[in-house]
């Protein structure tokens, strides 16, 4: 099996796929957003609970491939407890990473970097992006920019 494939299917990704984090519904979400990729059928439900500009809790429930599920799980892990502004920075950074661009100065992607290999699989980029574009929709409803 080629090395590149290992770039895509990192052990961390497979682990998040098998046991997604943050996948339980929230009791009192402030916003619920459905994400859908018409090209392949991947779907997810993202819920946010936001207080005073901070994402208190969130949930991502995916029905999709390993990449979209892992991406949702990593998103949930990365953003819990983070200020909305920080979430927006990570969102921009994530998109830049998959477009093969340099991240904004000083931005730390942390665990999200394991999804960097997806950029070499153009048809799978949408899978990795789906939770993030859904988040973008959700944030624009909670707190319009």
């Amino acid at each position: 099996m080629s090395l590149e494939l290992d770039d895509l299917y990192r052990e961390v990704i497979l682990d998040h796929y098998r046991t997604p984090r943050g996948a339980s519904p929230l009791p009192h979400p402030d916003v619920r957003e459905e994400g859908f990729n018409p090209l392949c059928g991947d779907e997810l439900t993202l819920e946010l609970q936001v207080e005073a500009g901070v994402i208190r809790d969130l949930s991502v429930r995916s029905r999709g491939c390993s990449i979209s599920v892992a991406s949702g799980s990593l998103l949930a892990e990365a953003l819990r407890g983070k200020p909305v502004a920080e979430a927006r920075r990570l969102l921009a950074g994530f998109k830049a990473m998959l477009a093969g661009q340099a991240p904004a100065d000083g931005l730390e992607m942390g665990d999200l970097e394991v999804l960097g290999g997806v950029k070499n699989f153009p048809v799978r980029i949408k899978c990795a992006l789906l939770p993030w574009t859904t988040l973008e929709q959700a944030l624009s409803r909670v707190e319009p920019t």
Partner: protein
């Protein structure tokens, strides 16, 4: 004037135990020499689009290098040649699918345009609020969305004939659904997901006896490349298919119509070629088929589609069908050996075209397709433009291996091996 394309001169040895001289056929398809990720390509995405024999490509080149001109109105030599080639292609393709007369065949861009043409031109002229269009749960989006758009505009009702758990159309339910309100029954000949070949002649007969004036429409996109299809024997008024799925070029498809239907149908697109007389006060229209071919047609690709059916005639559609049944049988057998797979559709290969959609309990179809691709194996993953069917099957997506005349049993083995590799790679028992 007649142009001859170089044609192969072999006799197909059709024998279920052997591979239908696939080596010779493979040599006709230049793309099969390609490598993908360092492996020879195993192209199993034929239901999406097939590869093209060199005869088809040569016909395009010959057309553009020798005969190119606009058709129908020209007096000069090239215009005459181009017109002859175009109308000759119409005759070839019409004969190939069992139309009575060449005029029964309208060139479209693809199957989708053919269905839209019917929904727009016939539908808007003949359907009113409350009229019913009956389709099945296994339709492709191209046989769903045009009717839904008409429903939204005109208040007609789209009814869905359900399928049973083996992926066959539910005959009893179908019979309950047809009534004098049924004005159109539009059915897929073979499902591009399940592989099921529907008994359409019987279904159309049932629909007609419940509703004598019903318009019977057949989406033969998946059967024309896999078996002999005779328009006049299937009991339909109209039939559509796409050139690019039958080894022909992209950008050309066909709508076959009975003379009676064609005469009763107003035009769809307006412009050059389809008119009789144009004045500031209004226009009159040409007779079919030209009435339905507005503007400069896709001349080169029509000509190349003509060359393609000459090629298929030579291979022999009866042989193609045997080959397709053999591959279907072998693929079903081999895939059944992977216990984590659910394979959809009827078990009997005689009821199927040569494709198999499946779902692996452990490996999502997209992951499977990506990992297979790295081994040179091209399959499709997704809803295959049949979302209502995916919902019926209860899965968001499936993986699909679909076979063409150049595929072999060895390639089925490679597919199965690649699936096992993929499972292993992702940490599951192969």
């Amino acid at each position: 004037m007649s142009v001859s394309f170089p044609l192969p001169s072999f006799n197909c040895r059709v024998d279920c135990g052997k591979d239908f001289d696939a080596a010779r056929i493979r040599a006709d398809f230049p793309v099969l020499a390609r490598q993908v990720h360092g492996r020879p390509i195993v192209y199993l995405d034929n239901a999406a689009t097939t590869q093209k024999p060199r005869h088809t490509i040569a016909a395009l080149v010959e057309y553009y290098e020798r005969h190119n001109a606009n058709v129908h109105r020209g007096i000069h030599t090239l215009a005459e040649e181009a017109t002859d080639l175009y109308e000759q292609a119409r005759r070839c393709v019409a004969a190939f699918v069992g139309a009575h007369r060449p005029e029964e065949l309208v060139f479209t861009r693809n199957a989708t345009e053919g269905l839209n043409l019917l929904a727009y031109a016939w539908g808007r002229a003949h359907l009113a609020a409350g009229d019913e269009v009956l389709i099945s749960e296994m339709e492709h989006h191209s046989n769903i969305v045009p009717w839904q758009m008409l429903a939204a505009e005109r208040g007609i009702v789209v009814r869905w004939a359900p399928i049973d758990d083996e992926g066959r159309l539910d005959r009893a339910a179908f019979r309950r659904l047809v009534s004098p309100r049924t004005k159109v029954v539009s059915l897929i000949h073979a499902s591009n997901v399940l592989g099921t070949i529907n008994p359409v002649a019987e279904l159309f007969a049932e629909a007609r006896s419940a509703s004598p004036g019903v318009l019977a429409v057949l989406d033969a996109t998946q059967t024309v490349p896999q078996m002999p299809v005779r328009f006049r024997e299937l009991g339909c008024d109209a039939m559509v298919f796409s050139g690019h799925k039958m080894y022909g070029p992209t950008g050309i498809g066909c709508l076959v119509l009975t003379e009676a239907l064609a005469e009763a149908m107003p035009p769809f697109l307006g412009g050059g070629e389809m008119i009789d007389r144009v004045t500031q006060d209004g226009s009159t229209f040409a007779r079919p088929p030209h009435r339905f071919e507005a503007g400069t047609p896709n001349i080169a690709d029509a000509v190349a589609l003509g060359a393609t059916v000459e090629y298929l005639d030579l291979v022999g559609m009866d042989s193609v069908r045997i080959h397709s049944e053999c591959l279907a049988e072998y693929a079903l057998e081999q895939l059944a050996r992977i216990p984590s797979l659910t394979v959809y559709g009827p078990r009997d290969p005689r009821e199927r075209v040569a494709l198999a959609s499946f779902y692996d309990r452990d490996v999502h179809p997209h992951d499977l397709a990506t990992i297979l691709d790295r081994q040179g194996v091209a399959v499709r993953a997704g809803h295959h433009c049949a979302m209502p069917l995916a919902r019926r099957l209860g899965v968001p997506a499936t993986a699909r291996a679909s076979f063409g005349i150049y595929n072999t049993r060895d390639e089925v083995d490679l597919l199965v091996q690649a699936i096992r590799h993929a499972r292993e790679y992702l940490g599951h028992v192969a």
